[in-house]
């Protein structure tokens, strides 16, 4: 199997280099090609019966060409799923014609070849065992996971099912500056979604899940089902609480939403577009001294690991926030140039788009408190397990989202709470963090331990 995929990676690299060459011949000054070839298996069981088996493979080629004539970059971004040689030739010609219509932007050119990645560490992103999973095996796992959820508590009355997904694929990247690189990866996920009936006919749904690049690292299917059931049953009888100002504890699932939103304002693109309340704040405190945030692409088996970035540059661990001080923001080549600085090796590039700053494995580093200690330290407050909606204004930092979780009374989680909002300016929210948990797990590419914010406005009755 390994051989097949090595050949595939090589084929993608070859197509990439050939397409760059085609673009040069069609009149481009420079070109950059991103390729993807992947397969998916998705299997779902609901109420014990197979509901879906989906299996397919797909590939795509994204091309960015630059024409300049000395004054700087005019660029186009094009995509095709059809890579037959005769089609590619016409596709490349169209891309060059399109680029000529853009207005010159001297900053929009390929990166300096001196910054290209030259060393490609094996980050262990590929798992043969994941690839060997077939639909019949996955159906069995789903039956086990769902059955465990239904059996865990008799108040679980229905189910959205249990699902196993596997993605496997290779990515290659080549540019006319001489860079060529590729890697391949696998990713498995398994989740279970039970449903309960609450008083008044209201449905309460919940879920739990496990995911990993390596099949062997997936958690026990039945345990996932059981935990999903317990989390769902715990929501029965959810109610609103009165509007108030209280401390708010975020569990790791909810907290990672906050970290993702922070990245949205701590990157070069948001900065040069003036779409961030953090503009001008580098070197100053933007969070509590308990907060240190890193982005590390080089973690072995990491869900967001990569051995080069979407500009073809070498990657490194970046510290965004060190003990509350904003040290650096993540930049790709273009946004770095717009800001008069160097890329942090943080370009992400979908096959169909142009590069932009993205995180790899974005981690809020663990603190020393246990989650129980963090809750125990709250006289009256809210424990948040889920957030809803998109109430965040990056320009002003105004933050207001729907939330659900549990009311905390005298250091104990009590009744479930839903249909409330939590609000606070984001700048205040990060500065008000007064506890960081020791419960960090690298299950998702953006990850956070339990955190506590000393005070937020809770909008309820």
């Amino acid at each position: 199997m390994r051989d097949i995929h090595e050949v595939l990676e090589k084929e993608l690299r070859d197509i990439g280099q050939k397409t760059c060459e085609l673009a040069r011949r069609a009149g481009a000054d420079a070109a950059e090609v991103a390729l993807r070839d992947g397969s998916e298996l998705s299997v779902k069981v609901r109420l014990g019966e197979p509901e879906l088996i989906k299996e397919a493979a797909s590939r795509g080629l994204g091309l960015r060409v630059f024409v300049g004539g000395g004054v700087g970059g005019r660029a186009s971004n094009t995509f095709t799923s059809d890579m037959r040689p005769q089609v590619l030739e016409e596709f490349v010609r169209e891309a060059v014609a399109l680029a000529k219509l853009a207005e010159p932007d001297p900053l929009n050119t390929l990166p300096d070849p001196a910054d290209f990645a030259t060393d490609f560490p094996d980050l262990e992103l590929w798992d043969e065992a994941s690839l060997a999973v077939d639909a019949a095996t996955a159906l069995e796992w789903c039956k086990i996971g769902e059955a465990a959820a239904m059996a865990a508590d008799k108040r679980v009355t229905n189910s959205e099912g249990a699902t196993y997904d596997r993605n496997a694929g290779a990515v290659a990247f080549a540019n006319s500056g001489g860079f060529v690189g590729s890697y391949r990866g696998t990713y498995n996920s398994f989740y279970v979604e039970p449903i309960c009936d609450d008083e008044g006919g209201k449905k309460r749904n919940g879920f739990w899940w496990t995911a990993n690049r390596f099949l062997a690292a997936l958690e026990d299917r039945a345990e996932i089902g059981k935990k999903a059931a317990l989390r769902t049953v715990a929501k029965l009888g959810s109610r609103k609480v009165d509007t108030c100002e209280v401390p708010v504890v975020f569990d790791p699932e909810a907290a990672r939403g906050l970290l993702g939103a922070l990245l949205g304002v701590a990157n070069g693109s948001a900065f040069y577009r003036k779409s961030s309340y953090l503009v001008g704040r580098e070197g100053t405190p933007i969070a509590s001294p308990l907060v240190t945030i890193v982005d590390d692409p080089l973690i072995k088996r990491g869900p967001g690991s990569r051995s080069f970035d979407g500009d073809g540059l070498r990657v490194r661990k970046n510290t965004l926030v060190s003990a509350g001080i904003l040290e650096t923001i993540l930049c790709d080549t273009y946004s770095a140039r717009k800001l008069g600085r160097k890329s942090t090796g943080s370009a992400g590039r979908g096959v169909g788009g142009s590069p932009g700053p993205t995180s790899s494995n974005l981690i809020l580093q663990a603190g020393t408190s246990t989650p129980e200690e963090i809750v125990r330290g709250v006289e009256r407050g809210l424990y948040v397990t889920e957030m809803m909606g998109f109430g965040f204004n990056p320009v002003t930092g105004d933050f207001s989202r729907g939330a659900g979780g549990f009311w905390i009374e005298k250091g104990q989680k009590t009744f479930p709470v839903s249909e409330i909002t939590i609000s606070c300016n984001f700048d205040d929210l990060w500065k008000r963090i007064d506890a960081v948990g020791n419960d960090l797990e690298l299950r998702t590419s953006t990850t956070c331990p339990t955190i506590r914010v000393s005070s937020m406005t809770l909008g309820g009755r």
């Binding site: 186009s76 095709t80 219509l101 909002t421």
Partner: protein, 481 residues
């Protein structure tokens, strides 16, 4: 319909699919004993232009195409796709999808007959085929209008996104239907600064048009540019929103997104078939105040959510969901329609050939009522007026929702006063619908920008409402008093 087909599978194309070939593929798909199979051929060209910092920053173009094969056996679905229209690859996809049905006798697919359909969005030449140079001017006009509108503007971005999609649906019960679906979306964003305050405003629109979208005086680049500036400037003076339960007036048009999220999803029949929606088994019961009549209307000319045929080959139509407060029906795809023993309602939609169809909304609207907008606002002592939304999210199982406003105002003694920032509305769809106490006579369809996500699939939708008063809803703001 003018013959403007570009797809390789269309009549006259390099890989033209005819009824006989489709029949062979369907036979393969049903070989293992499926109950039903369909083929979904899709060809999509996308084009986009982005302006930033007074420059045309980039131009993009993308082409994707493929065939999705679905086989249904009972409530189970087998799905596979191919990005290649060679016989071997298509046949492989058909056999893979057919795996879902192991054993059992196979019903042969019936002979396939082409179906002709009316055209809700006739256009001349697909705009993706027009010279890209001629499109830049729309963005440049918006940029000029934004910069000229107010000295406090520091930034303008504009984008034009076009799509041309051709589909061919063939079903084992004998239909062969083609459609061509144009889609255009224009957007402008302005950033204003005053002292240390910075705010942004956006305006956009579109629908199933080519570039003639801009011909309407309310759709010009200048109109969208000025609207973006108006919102950015208004928000410079915005104050912290109150928190807690209060009266809320939803403005016309865009507020339809709340209806879509909070009520619409719960009325998609898959959730009701699986008994996972609050609206399960409630047809015939009162679910809203008697002022509420809600419909999903797939046949509004040129609207973003309209379709000439759904992605399972069925005709779209106007489906009344709630009539004077009484639940009268759901939105169906084939699977759910068969479960309920009724005809499909034309709501089977999918993101692409890589996705299986689901019951989805098209254009979801609340029908007008008896009240004037002034009368509605005038009736509120202290509350919030919601004018524009950035988006929302709903828990489909129970209708709990959250919506974020990009433009909202305080209502004091029956008048709109201060602009508010950071406003969220949170509630439960079924509850909120029972608290609708006034419905305006000023129905408007939102200018088309909305996308709806469900099960990881995104489809374009339309929404519309008149002004609506809700007696009590939780406002998430930062001020507790």
């Amino acid at each position: 319909m003018v013959n403007v087909s570009k797809a390789p599978f269309a009549t006259g194309g390099v890989a033209a699919i005819d009824a006989a070939l489709a029949h062979r593929l369907l036979s393969l798909a049903l070989d293992r004993g499926g109950d039903y199979a369909d083929l979904y051929f899709e060809y999509r060209v996308g084009a986009d232009v982005i302006l930033e910092d007074e420059k045309i920053k980039s131009l993009g173009r993308g082409i994707s195409m493929g065939l999705g094969v679905r086989v249904v056996k009972g409530d189970a679905t087998g799905y596979a796709y191919s990005e290649d229209f060679t016989w071997d690859r298509m046949a492989h996809a058909a056999r893979t999808a057919g795996q879902i049905a192991a054993g059992g006798g196979a019903p042969a697919p019936v002979a396939v007959t082409p179906v002709t359909i009316p055209d809700l969005y006739p256009i001349g030449v697909p705009s993706v085929d027009l010279d890209a140079a001629g499109k830049l001017v729309f963005l440049q006009r918006a940029d000029r209008a934004v910069r000229a509108a107010d000295p406090r503007i520091v930034k303008c971005e504009a984008s034009l996104v076009e799509e041309w999609k051709e589909i061919l649906v063939v079903t084992s019960d004998g239909k062969l239907v083609q459609d061509r679906q144009p889609l255009v979306r224009f957007g402008v964003r302005a950033v204003a600064e005053e002292g240390t305050k910075r705010q942004s405003g956006s305006s956009g629109g579109g629908g199933r048009f080519g570039l003639e979208y801009f011909d309407d005086p309310s759709h010009t680049p200048e109109a969208h540019g000025r609207e973006a500036v108006r919102i950015a400037i208004a928000n410079l003076d915005a104050r912290d929103a109150p928190a807690g339960e209060m009266e809320v007036v939803l403005g016309p048009a865009d507020s339809g997104i709340l209806l879509h999220e909070a009520i619409g999803h719960g009325l998609e029949a898959d959730f009701n078939r699986k008994k996972t929606s609050n609206y399960t088994d409630r047809v015939g019961q009162r679910v809203a105040s008697d002022l509420c009549t809600v419909a999903d209307d797939g046949i509004v000319a040129h609207s973003r959510g309209s379709i000439n045929v759904d992605d399972e080959g069925n005709a779209p139509r106007t489906n009344v969901l709630i009539e004077n407060g009484i639940l009268v029906g759901y939105m169906h795809d084939r699977l759910s329609a068969r479960h309920y023993g009724i005809a499909p309602s034309g709501n089977g939609r999918r993101q692409s050939f890589r996705h299986m169809p689901l019951p989805r909304m098209t254009n979801t609207v609340l029908r007008p009522g008896p009240h004037s907008p002034d009368e509605i606002i005038g009736s509120v002592k202290r509350g919030v007026y919601a004018k524009r939304f950035s988006g929302g999210q709903v828990n489909i199982s129970n209708g709990d929702f959250v919506f974020s406003l990009t433009e909202g105002y305080l209502i004091e003694d029956g008048k709109l006063t201060a602009p508010l920032k950071g406003v969220n509305l949170i509630g439960n769809g079924p509850d909120v619908l029972t608290r609708v106490s006034m419905v305006g006579n000023d129905f408007e369809l939102s200018d088309g920008v909305w996308n709806c996500g469900k099960d990881g699939q995104s489809v374009p939708v339309g929404v519309g409402t008149p002004t609506v008063k809700i007696d009590r809803i939780t406002v998430g703001g930062t001020k507790t008093s």
